[in-house]
Symmetry: C3
Subunit: 343 residues, 3 copies
């Protein structure tokens, strides 16, 4: 795949500045690009790299003003990252291995139908009663339990495990090691402090267009369902406990943990390693900074940070003040001394 | 399975209030129950749902007083959650898929005996010298290394990996993606800062009635054993490092991390995302709040929270005071100014 | 394997004190050693155990002075832990199961060559174009995607998943459940708040002598590579996001999370559960305490702790002062009162 700057600019609605005939065959990060690659500049932190990059083409904002000479051909667009993403989507279809058909060595229970366009990799196990949509790609070593439903065009990467009865929507992507529908963590202690298991008889239901990261775990509910709405994107190593509900178009960075029965709203952005207590409710359009601890319910539109979390402005002030804590102690000592001297 | 309120009440020692003939066939959460389901009310946070629930039957405490009309039939019991749990245990036997026998496509090394009542799923691997108890259920894609011992009635869900030499007790449950017996993290740096591996020659030993969550990792010890005692319940994505010991009937929420050689006592309750430093000792009956950092040993009966952890009361006071930090700074500024003016 | 104290001392350059004829056949921790085992004393916290240990031989520092009688034979060495490690390395070759050859039930794509000395376990999948080095050990249930390159002498434990195009160096060790090369977490929101996937077309490249812990995830880059340099050791359940780079000989304890495009230097030591923001740069020889939050770039040689992180000395002072926060508030109240009274 060799494409010229002119052809690319036409495809993404951009404006060429420099040689339009230069051609590229791959993508690169601006700081380690080589000739023959295309890159982009969106984050101002990286601006200085544009003067030294070896990339042949750089996508920049329409209002970008070079303060030094730039040797690469520029393509000016409204949103360089989106423009690059559009190009990458085309490229992905060519570059990424594609699969179809049923490989020898897979286990498909009697009565399960594998529709056209599907892939079932070797050593994958599909239990009885499972319903597999069209064009579903099931990589090797996947486990799909009894009665699981997988929507059309969903991709399930190697080693994903889906327990019985769970439901996965259309156009979802589940990365390796994700575990969907393991038992929720429910135990009741007896008088001797011995914990007895509460059976977890519910399911996990994942709506359309959801992406689940590698080694993320979503537990089945005690009863009813643990529910992940349309368009949610979960990064790697996240814990979603039983009976949790996550609203549509919410994204969470890696290693977030959500305790049981908590409801997270739609269009939220959750920073990595954040923890949510159980049985709370988080509104829509909420932003939460990394490593926060959300112990109480949070209304729509909140921007929270810290453990326990507080509004982001308060957090910033608290952190700034905290640096002076040791100094504050000395100042109070000194104030007390002075005041006593005056007596 | 259709059961009437009268039959259920008799089974769990409850008292019917309302129509005893109403029947149910499934469980539901009180807030999204449908007719034909049974639910429960234990957490006071959910009390308001009882007046609008569509459930046919609700289990409530004996002393529950309705403040508005309730359309569901009530069954009064000492402990609604336990009563429901007892019902669910019966239902689980009917609802959950059960397995027996050896599926084609599993690998069982020569000389390994699979006793009566066992299940070995396809693509599971049992290495030589492994000893498998009665009624052990080994789901597909499980790895059981050389000489591993699995006690009677233990359930090992798809994709669990158990390295050579480890020992698992009776009636344990290991969820998908759990890794038992990977090498402990032991390296010694040389004069050039290059780290050399310390061989990890010990094992993991897990006692009876232990549940290990999805994608939780328990490392083998350098020598001797990493030991998890009877009745311990570990949630998902927990890290148990080499040589750690956990006392009986201790429960840990997800994403807890325990560094090497630390000993945790019995009957402890550990909140999610808590971290323990290495080589420390935590007493029995200790409660630790979520996201805490336990850097030092902690005596029996402690209730700790925060990073670094402090007694829960101190933590609450610290958090309350911390909110006023920026204000405190201003007050000190003002005090100093006033005092100087008085000079 | 029965070895006397004399033979062991000669092998590790140590000096015997006590009976040189006593022999051992296994290793043990000092506190639960049994007769016939060898142990070591390095951490002063454990010194008291040497007076009661049942081990037959204890490795101690050359300058160790017993304050009570010791019944075990001592072997004095410069560094007891290193000396033990050297002995364990020998023992590991005897004790640990070794494997060679291709087991029935593995899937090796046409054209992939498996060189001498390799092991390919049952239910492992090697896709087309993969290049496998000499003496590579691929345990059961491993997935190796299209075009993946594995260097000589690397060990890949059961259930590891490596996506297409990734490159693993020589003498690496990847533990069960590690996922290498899953898609980086890249999405761009549209005007309606719907997130669209940014294709992740790069790879993961892991250099020689790297160890990756159980269930750790290393995401493929958007373009270019996510890069882990020579000698890096990552513990379990760590998240390495897309485009991250980690310098040589850096070690990280479990549950660390590194957000996208961050660069970590060489020879760093990172405590467990630490989180790094994206797009920052951490210098060489940096030490970071457990559970820290690194929100900004950090220069060479820094020693940081806390969230957000500060120099370790400042952190210690802040923590010490923080304990007195509630008291400080009372003291300020009292100062204000006194000052007002004086007016």
């Amino acid at each position: 795949m060799q494409l010229t700057a002119e052809i690319i600019a036409r495809h993404i609605g951009g404006e060429v500045e420099g040689c339009g005939d230069v051609s590229v065959s791959n993508f690169a990060k601006i700081e380690d690009a080589t000739p023959g690659t295309i890159t982009f500049l969106a984050n101002p932190k990286y601006t200085h790299h544009i003067y030294s990059t070896k990339a042949s083409i750089v996508l920049v904002r329409r209002d970008f003003i070079a303060e030094e000479p730039v040797s690469a051909t520029l393509i000016r667009v409204d949103d360089p990252y989106s423009a690059l993403a559009a190009l990458m989507e085309v490229a992905a279809k060519v570059l990424r291995p594609s699969h179809e058909g049923i490989e020898d060595g897979s286990f498909i229970a009697e009565g399960v139908e594998i529709p056209e366009g599907c892939y079932v990799g070797a050593f994958s196990y599909i239990a009885k009663g499972a319903v597999i949509g069209k064009n579903v790609k099931i990589y090797p070593q996947v486990y799909i339990g009894e009665g699981v439903v997988i929507g059309d065009d969903t991709i399930i990467y190697p080693g994903v495990k889906i327990y019985y009865g769970c439901r996965i929507g259309k156009r979802c992507m589940l990365h390796s090691g994700a575990v969907i529908g393991a038992d929720g963590f429910g135990f009741a202690p007896d008088a001797n402090g011995v914990f007895h298991k509460i059976e977890q008889l519910g399911i996990v239901e994942i709506d359309d267009d959801v992406e689940i990261g590698a080694n993320t775990t979503v537990d089945r509910s005690t009863m009813g369902r643990t529910y992940i709405s349309r368009g949610v994107k979960l990064d790697n190593l996240i814990q979603v406990a039983h009976n949790v509900e996550i609203g549509h178009d919410t994204v969470m960075a890696s290693q977030v943990g959500i305790a049981g029965s908590t409801k997270i709203g739609s269009n939220c952005m959750i920073g990595g390693q954040t923890g949510f207590a159980g049985h709370i409710s988080v509104g829509n359009h909420v932003s939460i900074g990394a490593q926060s601890g959300i112990a109480k319910s949070v209304p729509d539109g909140s921007r929270m940070m810290g453990t326990p979390a507080m509004p982001m402005g308060d957090y910033a002030r608290m952190v700034a003040a905290r640096k002076h804590l040791a100094e504050l102690m000395r100042r109070i000592d000194s104030l007390e001394k002075k005041l006593n001297e005056k007596k």
